[in-house]
Symmetry: C4
Subunit: 236 residues, 4 copies
Amino acid sequence: MAETNKDHLVQSDDPDHPANLIPRLCKQFYSLGWVTGTGGGTSIRMDEHVYIAPSGVQKELIKPSDMFVLSYPTPKYPPSARQYIRKPHELKPSACTPLFLAAFERGAGCCIHSHSQWCVLVTLLVEKMHGKDACFEISNIEQIKGIPKGPGKGMLGFHDTLRVPIIENTPFEEDLTESLEKAMEQYPDTYAVLVRRHGIYVWGETVAKAKTQCESLDYLFQLAVEMHRLGLPWTI
Amino acid sequence: MAETNKDHLVQSDDPDHPANLIPRLCKQFYSLGWVTGTGGGTSIRMDEHVYIAPSGVQKELIKPSDMFVLSYPTPKYPPSARQYIRKPHELKPSACTPLFLAAFERGAGCCIHSHSQWCVLVTLLVEKMHGKDACFEISNIEQIKGIPKGPGKGMLGFHDTLRVPIIENTPFEEDLTESLEKAMEQYPDTYAVLVRRHGIYVWGETVAKAKTQCESLDYLFQLAVEMHRLGLPWTI
Amino acid sequence: MAETNKDHLVQSDDPDHPANLIPRLCKQFYSLGWVTGTGGGTSIRMDEHVYIAPSGVQKELIKPSDMFVLSYPTPKYPPSARQYIRKPHELKPSACTPLFLAAFERGAGCCIHSHSQWCVLVTLLVEKMHGKDACFEISNIEQIKGIPKGPGKGMLGFHDTLRVPIIENTPFEEDLTESLEKAMEQYPDTYAVLVRRHGIYVWGETVAKAKTQCESLDYLFQLAVEMHRLGLPWTI
Amino acid sequence: MAETNKDHLVQSDDPDHPANLIPRLCKQFYSLGWVTGTGGGTSIRMDEHVYIAPSGVQKELIKPSDMFVLSYPTPKYPPSARQYIRKPHELKPSACTPLFLAAFERGAGCCIHSHSQWCVLVTLLVEKMHGKDACFEISNIEQIKGIPKGPGKGMLGFHDTLRVPIIENTPFEEDLTESLEKAMEQYPDTYAVLVRRHGIYVWGETVAKAKTQCESLDYLFQLAVEMHRLGLPWTI
C-alpha cells in the first residue's frame, strides 16, 4: 500500500474538512473532559471516506496528518469493502473503529466517543438503583429537547422521556461491537449508547448534530448526578 | 422580502455593534455552561432594531451574518409593527423571540436566556422545600449587591432579600410568554424570571448590565445549591 | 483637576506596569471565578502611586485607560496626603480603596479582593461549627507552605496551623475598614482577612506574592469545603 | 561556574525541546489545577541533561530562560556526577529535584509533580477507610487502561486493579526521597506515588506517557471521590 500517495486525503484549505475538523473537535472535547489521557475519539464520514483519530495519542494535539482514512463505498456494503486507505506511520488505528462503523451503518455522518465522568457515574447509579438491565431515563428537563425522538421523527418534547441504553463494558473495545449493535436494534430511536464504567458513543446525521447531542446528553448526565445527590428524582 | 439588501444591518467595524457582540457573548456564555448543545440565546436592541441569535445552532460558532434582525420602532408600539427585516437563509428564528420582546417592552436593551444547571437545580430545590408557588429567595450575601432593587431604585443592599420568580415550563418555548409577562407584572422590580426545569431569562438596560446581572444570579444560584448541600439556609 | 494630563501614568510599553498588569490579572481572576459580575478588585502600589481597578465594570474587559491612580507619597504618611490624581470619566472609584490602603500601610505592594464562592462557604462553615468569633484554621496540608508565617518570618511549614481571621460584612464596603484594620492588629502575621458572606482580601509584598498566596488560600478553602463534605477534619 | 555560557542549553527552535516544552506543559497543568500557587513542578530528561522548572514561581508564566539544567551522564551513575550546569540568577532550584532523579533512575524520561486536590482527597479517604498502610485501589473503570501494568508489561486491563502507593508527607520536600524510593521498590510496577495531604509524583518513559498517565490518574482520583460521595465502591 503506497500510503504517502494518500496524503491529499488529509490536505484541505477548508477548515471544516474532516481532516481539519477532527483535530479542532478533539481539542474542544479535551477541554470538556471527554478525551482525557488519550481516551475517547471521534470519526467523521464524508462521501466514500471515513476519517478516524488515531489511538493512544494526546487528543488535544492531533494534526490532520495523523488521520486514518477508511474506504467506505456506501452504507450496507459488505463490511469486507471497508479497508484503511491511509495509515499514518507509527500510529495505531482506533479500537473504536468497528463501533464508529456501526453508527455509520445507521446513516450517521459523525460519531463521538466520550469518557466523560458524568457518563460513568450515571451508568453506576442506574445499576445501583434499577439493576443491570435498566436504561438511563430522564424527563421534564428542557435540555431533553436537544435530542432527536428518532430518525425522521423530530426532536423529543419536554414531557417525553429520554431513554439511553446501557451496555456492559468488555476488556477489549472492539468486543463492544456486538452488544452495541444489539442495543441499536433494541432501541431503534436512540442516537447514543452508554457503556457501563466506560463512557458513551453518540452519533448524528451531521457533525453539528453529533456534537450538540453529545453536549446535551453530557449536560443531562451531569444534572442527573447532581439531582441524585440532592434527592431529586430523574422522572416525574 | 429582499433579504440580501439587509446585510448592511449586520456589517460593522465596531466590535460592540450587536451583530459582532452577540457572537462574542455567545462564545463566552458557552464557556460558562449557559448555552450548551444549542440551548439558550441572546438578544440586543439597538435603536429601532432587535438583533437575535438563531435557533438550533452551536452558540460558540455564531457569525454576524447568522443574525436575525427585527424591526422595533419603539417600545409600546402595537406588536404588529414587529417583523423580521433580516432572516438568514437555512436558519430558524429563535423560539425565545416573544420572551425577549417582553423584556424590551419593559425598557431592556439586552436579554439573555441561559440553561445553566444551577438555575434548573434551584427551581427544583425551591419546589421541593416551599412548593410550586414559591419564588427563589436569598439574603445577606455580598453578591446580591450586583442586582438592581428595581427600575430607577439603585442596587439591592447586603441585608435585602433578592427574590426571583419561577414560572412553570411549557412544551413550546413561545408559550412561556404569557406566564413570563404575568411574573413581570407580579414582580415589577425583577430583572429575571426563572423557568422550572429549564433555565432563566435575565435582562438589563444595557448589555453590560444584563450580562453582569446574569453572572451575579448564576453565582448566587450555584452558591445556594452548595449551601443547601452543606445544610446552610439561604435567608437569615 | 486636569485629568487628561495624567494619562502618561497609565501608558507604558512594559507589560508588567501596573496599568497593564491589573487588566491582565483581572482577566485571569475572572476565569478563576473571583471577580464574577463586577465583584472583587485589584490594586497595585508602585513607588508613590497606587493603581486601582474601577468599580462596577466587567473585570475581564478592563483597559489601562480605565485605571484610577492615587498619590501615595509613602506609607505612614497622614491619610490626607492620599488623593486621586487620575479619575477616568464616567467610571466610579472602587469602594475597596480604603481597604486596599490598609494593606499598603502594612507594606503591601499589591492587594486582591476576591468573591470566590469557596471563601463565602468557608466563612459560613466556620460560623456554623465554631461561632462568629472563630477564625478559619487548617493544618497538615502541603499547600499551606505557600502562605508566609508573617512579615520577615519565612513560609508556614506543613505541620503549622494556618489561621485566617474572619470579619463580619457591612452594608457598605468602605465600612469594613475599621474591622479589617482591627483584624490586622489582632493577627499581625496574617496576609489575608476573610469577610463573612462576602469574600476575602489578600495582600503581599509583590504582585506575584499576593497572587500566588490568593491562589493557595483559594485552593485550601475549596479543599476544606470538600473535606467537610467527606467528613474529614481540617486540623489534626 | 560561568552560567551565561550555558544559555545555549535552553535556546532551541524546536517547540518540543525541554526548555520550550516545560513552560507549555506548566501552563496546561496550571489550567488543570495541578500547579496552583507555585505548587507542583515538572522535569524532563534529554540525553545527558535534566531540565527542571524553578521553585516558588508562577508556573503558568515560566520562560525557557528560567530553566535549571542538571548534568545527568546516564542512569546508574554515582549520584555525585549530578550537578547543576545552569542555574538562573535569582531563582531557586526545585526541592523536588531528588524525587525527579529517583524517577529518572528508574528509566523515566519525564516526571510530573501535581498538587491536584483529587490526589489529596483520595489519600485522606484511603486513610480513613483502610488506615495509613493502605494504597489506593480501583478496578473495572475503562480509564485504568491508560496506565501501564509495569515496565515492559503493556497496559493494565479493564478488570485489573490499579494500585498506587501512598507515602506520608514530610516537612521538607527533599525528605520524601527515601520513602519515595522505598515505595518504588515495594511497588516495582508503579509509575506513580501519592503523597498524603500533598499530591502525587507521576513519571513515564516519554513526556507524552508521563502527561497522559498523570491525566488518567487524576481522572480516576476525581471519579473515586465522586463515587465515594454517591456510596459506590472503588473495587468490585
